[in-house]
């Protein structure tokens, strides 16, 4: 740490300690800055925006005991910002002051000052900063603007997830990949640093929202900065300082359309991070209402596809999940008046019996409940809603098994006709391309992450293959529509995955070893007292895991549908987990998805204790390792080197607003 920074921190600590006796104090200033938190005025600037991109100015003031904050002004570069500053008491002599939907066309680093007045006239003041990024032409000629933006986010997809998908679906022989993945064909590559505003390890909310807002946010939060409101306020989930989304900005400035496609519940963190503003990524009722009330109006949302039908059904309908509250998990939304006014959006209401599918249809959306109806949408469809499951959609492995006439696992028996991600991608592109002014489309391969959490190797590999098939559709679209920029990346790595080698034995032998109990003839017993963690080790680790030369080149047989005939081939590829939870491992495909790693595969008696903490932790966790980004199409050459995840937003906007090769 820089000596000057240390000094600044101790000074700040001293001033906070002294303030309790003397004067009101500013305890938070949004947008976040190093200048405010540690008196560091130098780059990197934590918060950066585009010219005219809207964001809220907010501060939290600790008043003297029993005193009230009566007013506040915000100053940018020492000039008072015009507009209404709302003062709200948030309990404990704390006050939140906010000025909504600020923007400025002028570029450069700006100081932000808040001056709050306590009854009696005492001032509390603090300073921070932010940057309005100047987008300038890198070349004088040969430059064109990107018209269409496609973000493909493989949730949790690190480098090894990609490699594993390639080894299975394309094969390796004599040291060379027999064929590249679609994403391998993209000409530009970068590495992204993924930390969130409050942790080195991000979750999917700030990990995705950064691509839509250009800014870091706290874990669990999407499209907002953190604040200090408490549960005593009914609107506490919905009053956070907002940052304008890419989709909203480009709809407002250029008339572009927005599309959101996911294999998860559509309220899940990644899809919501492109269309709504929420402190709580779990507030599904409010998030899905906002898709229609705000995103369809302000961001020109024209395509929304995925799971999560439960949020769209009146609460009295079977399968509904709509919540009758603004504070519970799954909450509905009601905005404070200053946000509704400042941003010009609907204030929302608690309406558990809302028929949101009908409301989407009234707004002109064609509703498709399954793959058949999706495939049959008229060619002139301009708005498309697809809800293919009440919760997350089933994973590629289980959808493909059903299509091949196999067993119905997961929720496939309830929803037997769910589309594959490439089929959804096709239709999303068809509908969005109707907008002559272009579009922003986010496509998420969501269960790469979910199945990696569950350490279900075969299922996340097939998810990555399904995701790559969607990428292929987008690259073909970009070839036919050259002013399209395609970005393939993730939000974070999940599970610390890597490829450790291949099985030394045939599948038949693996089955034998996995069904015979260990030396003590009892399934699932860990012989800790003997110093041996499990008696399945000799059978399923020493006797199976082939490393280096012994790994050779596992071979999978790919069917006409693009997926392997079976993942349980002889001498199959083996995966290890570094961000792991407790699990039993027998290396075989699990018959059922979403079974706890601590409860399946016990007959093989090979127990691998996990490193993830928490009582009963049996899921793997996100890691902080950098993630790969691949780019193709108009402006792709802007993406190279090692970047902050927020840089992606500004490079995309460079391609859209200024142009690139």
């Amino acid at each position: 740490m820089k000596p000057s920074l240390l000094l600044a921190i101790s000074l700040a600590a001293a001033s906070v300690a002294g303030s309790a006796f003397s004067a009101p104090t500013v305890t938070r200033l949004n947008p976040p800055s190093a200048l405010f938190t540690s008196a560091d005025p130098s780059p990197p600037y934590i918060s950066r925006f585009l010219p005219d991109q809207r964001f809220d100015l907010q501060a939290t003031i600790q008043a003297d005991a029993g005193q009230a904050i009566t007013g506040a002004v915000f100053k940018v570069n020492n000039v008072v910002v015009p507009g209404t500053v709302t003062v709200s008491s948030i309990g404990g002599d704390k006050y939140s002051v906010a000025l909504r939907a600020y923007s400025t066309p002028s570029t450069g680093v700006k100081t932000l000052t808040v001056e709050a007045t306590q009854a009696g006239g005492t001032l509390a003041t603090a300073q921070g900063n932010f940057e309005i990024v100047s987008l300038t032409r890198t070349r004088l000629s040969g430059v064109r603007k990107a018209k269409n933006i496609i973000y493909l986010i493989g949730d949790g997809m690190g480098i090894a997830h990609r490699t594993a998908a390639r080894i299975v679906s394309k094969g390796v022989s004599q040291g060379k990949a027999i064929e590249p993945l679609a994403m391998d064909r993209m000409p530009y590559t970068a590495l992204l640093m993924t930390s969130s505003l409050n942790s080195i390890v991000t979750d999917s909310a700030p990990g995705a929202a950064c691509y839509s807002t250009g800014n870091k946010s706290n874990n669990n939060q999407e499209g907002v900065f953190p604040d200090d409101t408490t549960a005593t306020l009914s609107d506490n989930k919905w009053d956070n300082p907002r940052v304008e989304h890419m989709g909203t900005y480009l709809a407002r400035k250029q008339g572009k359309a927005l599309g959101i496609v996911t294999t998860a519940d559509v309220e899940d963190a990644t899809p919501a991070s492109f269309g709504v503003h929420a402190q709580d990524r779990g507030a599904g009722t409010g998030i899905c209402d906002m898709f229609l009330d705000e995103a369809a109006v302000k961001s020109n949302l024209r395509v929304l596809m995925g799971g999560g039908r439960k949020w769209f059904l009146p609460s009295t309908t079977g399968g509904s999940g709509r919540v009758n509250s603004t504070t519970a998990a799954g909450a509905d939304y009601v905005l404070p008046a200053d946000i509704a006014t400042g941003w010009g959006v609907a204030a929302g209401t608690v309406d558990p019996n809302r028929d949101l599918i009908a409301d989407f249809q009234t707004a002109g959306f064609t509703y498709t409940p399954d793959a058949t109806s999706l495939g049959a949408i008229p060619a002139n469809t301009t708005k498309l809603l697809g809800l293919y499951n009440t919760g997350n959609m089933d994973v590629a492995m289980d959808k493909i098994a059903e299509r091949r006439g196999g067993a119905s696992v997961g929720t496939v028996a309830t929803f037997p006709d769910q589309p594959m991600l490439d089929e959804m991608t096709d239709k999303a592109l068809q509908v969005l391309n109707k907008n002559a002014k272009g579009f922003v489309l986010m496509i998420e391969g969501s269960s790469i992450d979910k199945q990696a959490h569950n350490m279900d190797t075969e299922r996340w590999i097939l998810e990555a293959i399904e995701f790559d098939r969607a990428i292929a559709k987008c690259l073909a679209f970009a070839q036919a529509n050259p002013d399209t920029l395609v970005i393939v990346t993730a939000d974070h790595e999940c599970a610390g995955i890597n490829i450790i080698g291949s099985s030394l034995v045939t599948n038949a032998e693996l089955i034998t070893r996995s069904t015979a109990n260990g030396n003590d003839a009892t399934a699932g017993v860990i012989n800790g007292a003997t110093g041996v963690s499990t008696d399945g080790q000799t059978k399923l680790r020493t006797g199976v895991v082939g490393t280096y030369d012994a790994a050779s080149f596992p071979q999978y047989q790919i069917q006409a549908d693009g997926y392997p005939l079976s993942m349980d081939v002889n001498y199959k590829m083996l995966i290890g987990y570094a961000g792991s939870g407790d699990r039993y491992e027998d290396w075989l495909t699990n018959a059922q998805p979403n079974v706890s790693g601590a409860a399946r595969d016990v007959a093989g008696d090979f127990f691998i204790p996990g490193q993830a903490t928490g009582a009963g932790a049996s899921t793997a966790v996100h890691t902080a390792s950098d993630i790969p980004l691949s780019a193709a199409g108009r402006g792709a050459s802007l993406f190279h080197g090692v970047m902050e995840n927020t840089d992606v937003f500004f490079h995309v906007m460079q391609a859209v607003l200024v142009g690139a090769q």
Binding site: A231, D265, Q279, T316, N594, V595, G614
Partner: protein
């Protein structure tokens, strides 16, 4: 519970809990005198003289998870089968698995026809749980929540239908007001409760819940940071 100072407290809690378990390890239907705060939780029927529930099986209609809703689902919501509707308010038995899941209501566990896990701390209510999810309501005992077990269990109870918002925000559509819980193979009674302090094997919200609390959420009333319930002292 991870700081050094709290370790002796935790150990003594465990010791107290172990004693309490011996006292409380009775058939589930004999703990009716304890306070019930959940409106759905009903007091159990009269205790059976034997621990095996085989002789009770005839009194409870067998209802399979795959019989709950019409399959496949239509374009909108899920619809109960005629059989489910006919059993509304009646005594049924269902065989399935406890979801490996931390529930914020100590009187509830999620019950499915196939083994399933849900990490609510990570995903909140966006889940991949089977659509035929059943909420099993137990007589609520302060500080004691059902402990997850991987084995197949059979729940005997009264079938309740219709949407109801639970404490954790999730809507329940099918509730089983439990009277007995048994191991499915032996039909011997199973104790599905243990003091929270001893629940090493339940998936906890842990740090993430604390984090969310700091962001303004109501702290859950039954997470691992709670002190031991007074009934154990």
């Amino acid at each position: 519970m991870t700081s050094k100072n709290s370790l002796p407290i935790l150990l003594s809690l465990c010791a107290i809990g172990s004693v309490a378990m011996m006292v409380l390890s009775r058939p589930a239907d004999s703990v009716t005198s304890l306070e019930s705060t959940a409106p759905q939780a009903v007091t159990a029927s009269s205790p059976a003289p034997t621990s095996s529930l085989r002789n009770l099986a005839d009194d409870y209609a067998l209802l399979a998870f795959e019989e709950l809703y019409q399959l496949p689902a239509g374009p909108r919501g899920l619809e109960f089968t005629l059989k489910t509707q006919s059993l509304k308010g009646r005594k049924v038995r269902m065989g399935g698995f406890m979801v490996r899941h931390f529930h914020e209501d100590a009187g509830v566990f999620l019950f499915t026809g196939v083994p399933a896990a849900h990490n609510q701390a990570e995903y909140i209510l966006a889940d991949s749980l089977p659509t035929s999810l059943v909420h099993v309501m137990l007589p609520q005992i302060p500080g004691r929540a059902p402990s997850w077990r991987p084995q197949r269990i059979t729940v005997f109870g009264t079938l309740e239908l219709g949407s109801h918002q639970e404490l954790d925000g999730r809507l329940s559509h099918v509730r089983l007001i439990a009277e007995h819980v048994a191991d499915s193979q032996t039909l011997e009674r199973t104790e599905v409760r243990r003091p929270l302090a001893l629940q090493r094997d339940r998936m906890a919200s842990g740090v993430r819940t604390l984090f969310r609390s700091s962001q303004g959420d109501n702290p859950p009333t039954n997470n691992l940071t709670n002190t031991a319930p007074s009934s154990l002292r």
